[in-house]
């Protein structure tokens, strides 16, 4: 509870705008808020902590930013005096204020959790037990650890995450890497886009290749073949993403991809029409092939059977059964 609540208009110049001790919001630019302020003015006061010479902002970073954009000189504020409570108690005001009217995004959760522990000395146990559930996170040490790492992760990765180019689980995975790896991967990812579905597989390939070959996970991004894909201006970011993925897959599963490529080549050499499909057993686990075609009438059936018969007379057919 706020005791001795004082509300007054404060000159924006009296506020130390560089002090972000209590900031939780990740994004402080809000066009709708600016519009609302322009139309009807400031509806809710910001919360300020009174210092010796200046005020520190507790809640209302976006409101204050919008007012400044509108060239306002004063802000309507509630004032908290430091003697009212300790700094962690004051941060709690910011925390609850945010929680009361919106969902925190993952980076904001990470920021709040990081500050609770590192700036306000709240113990891990208290954070895990009391704060994680409030943020809809499971109360586990590992979750706290991941979110702390996310807060200190590479800015490039954070930007991609904010822009929706990385999923939360990709971000969690990347945030656990050493800073140098994060930086290299962030720059490697710049030229590519990966669908959410592909990201999981992509990063799991990176991780496997690193563990398998005893290399850092960013090493594949320095490979000449990958670089040439990344620099190929004729491809869209999604196409580049898919090509790099295919390359990683080939490195992770070299014999399987070679077999797949051989199969594809040999099938092509049979010169069958596209309407006749020849499919190998999954992963070539048995040598069997499945042949499929659709025939709307007897004549078409005969045509395709003739095509197949012709293909069956060629030596290329034997090759199709010997791809591995």
């Amino acid at each position: 509870m706020l005791f001795d609540m004082i509300c007054k208009e404060i000159s924006i110049e009296e506020i130390d705008l560089t002090n972000e001790t209590f900031r939780i919001s990740e994004e402080i630019v809000s066009a709708p808020l600016r519009m609302s302020m322009r139309e009807v003015g400031q509806l809710n006061p910001v919360l300020l902590l009174e210092g010796k010479h200046t005020y520190r902002l507790i809640c209302g970073f976006r409101r204050l930013y919008a007012l400044r954009q509108l060239s306002a000189s004063h802000v309507f504020a509630r004032i908290v005096e430091e003697r009212d409570r300790d700094l962690s108690g004051i941060f709690n005001l910011a925390f609850w204020d945010n929680l009361s009217h919106r969902q925190l995004d993952p980076l904001e959760k990470a920021r709040a959790l990081y500050k609770l522990r590192n700036n306000f000395g709240v113990s891990n146990n208290v954070i895990i037990k009391n704060y994680l559930p409030l943020m809809d996170l499971s109360p586990h040490k590992q979750v706290l650890h991941i979110y702390n790492m996310m807060h200190t992760s590479n800015q490039g990765l954070r930007n991609r995450f904010k822009a929706g180019h990385l999923t939360l689980s990709s971000m969690e995975y990347l945030a656990a890497m050493p800073a140098s790896s994060q930086a290299s991967i962030a720059s490697g990812l710049e030229g590519i886009r990966l669908s959410a579905g592909l990201q999981k597989k992509f990063f799991s390939l990176l991780r496997d290749l690193a563990a398998k070959n005893g290399i850092e996970p960013e090493v594949p991004f320095k490979d000449p073949e990958v670089l040439s894909i990344l620099n190929d201006a004729g491809l869209s970011p999604f196409q580049r993403g898919e090509k790099v993925f295919a390359l990683l897959y080939r490195w992770r599963y070299p014999r399987l991809t070679q077999a797949e490529e051989r199969f594809f080549e040999r099938k092509k050499s049979l010169e069958l029409p596209g309407s006749i499909r020849i499919v190998p057993a999954p992963y070539f686990e048995v040598p069997d092939l499945r042949v499929e075609f659709n025939a709307p009438d007897a004549e078409r059936f005969r045509e395709m059977a003739a095509e197949l018969f012709e293909a069956s007379q060629t030596p290329e057919l034997d090759g199709l059964f010997k791809v591995i």
Binding site: Y253, L256, Y283, E285, V286
Partner: protein, 366 residues
Amino acid sequence: MIPYKPERILVQKESWQDTVTSEILGRLPDVEVRTVKDSEIRPMEPSAVSTVQSRNKNTLVLMRYPGSFLKRCQGSGADTCCNYYVVSCVWNCHLDCTYCVLQSYLSSRALIVCTNFEDLINEVRETLANSPKRIFRIGTGELADSLAQDPITGFSRRLVSFFAGLANGFLELKTKSDCIANLEGLDHRGHTIVSWSVNSKRICRTEEEKAPTLEKRLAAALQCQKWGYKLGFHFDPLIYYDGWERDYREAVKEIFHTLDPDRVVWVSLGALRFPPHLIDYVKERFPESKIPYGEFIPGHHGKLRYFRPIREEMYRNMISWILAEAPRVTVYLCMESFPVWKNSFGRESCSATFVRDQLDKAVCSR
């Protein structure tokens, strides 16, 4: 090998009636014992057993198992199955091999010993008596190592003596351990095969760290050979890595240079396979292990296994190295398909009955 020594023993109330319980407790005089109610142990299937206090292997649980002990081996259902049976009266193992399927298969981390051993004996006796013309090869190494915990359970002495009296039953004790002391001086009558799960020295060192070295396993095998036991070897799992050929070839040579090839009834080969979720366990528990990074594909029963050409390459080479050292030994593949048998052995005849007959012949004739 680090011997198994529990920190606490939980005894299910019902288990106090069994002599196995008092024998085991007698061998562990200074370990804390607590009686637990049935509700604390849910003795259903091994995969579902869980106890409140059984979070780690330092807990030994003594309980009665009400289900059937004798089961067909999991390989049944593969194209070519050797028709093997398993009885499991110990669940779990403290040797912690990186690839061990038990770490994901059993929900309890405690070591569980079933004390109603008489039920197991009766079940086996009855089943074998009902099919007197059929040979039964029965192993105890499916849900545990057959001998690693034997100093505590003493089951091997009971089993060996029991099988010695069965006309159509052969017991296989499959182990990585060197705990063979209990096998000394038993009148086994050729009805027990002591077999070792072996691997290249590098894999023994990196993935089977707590188990005895290959040399120690072979020294134990040599001792069993001297006691007149038939021997078996299982290169399972075969693990593919750069330089595997040299290492495995060396292991094959070492086996047959240490032991009399004519006393070896069979050698099985099984390339690494495991349920997909085991990969995450291995990555988490053994971050140094390279095992999860093989070229795996989903195969029989959804298990991951090496891409077929890798398996065939390993099998072909292993078969030729083994037969070069021991031309009369029966070599077979574990849980493999017809095409793999055919490509590995270079012959067509590899039906389920062919394999079963070969193994039955091997066990009866040596």
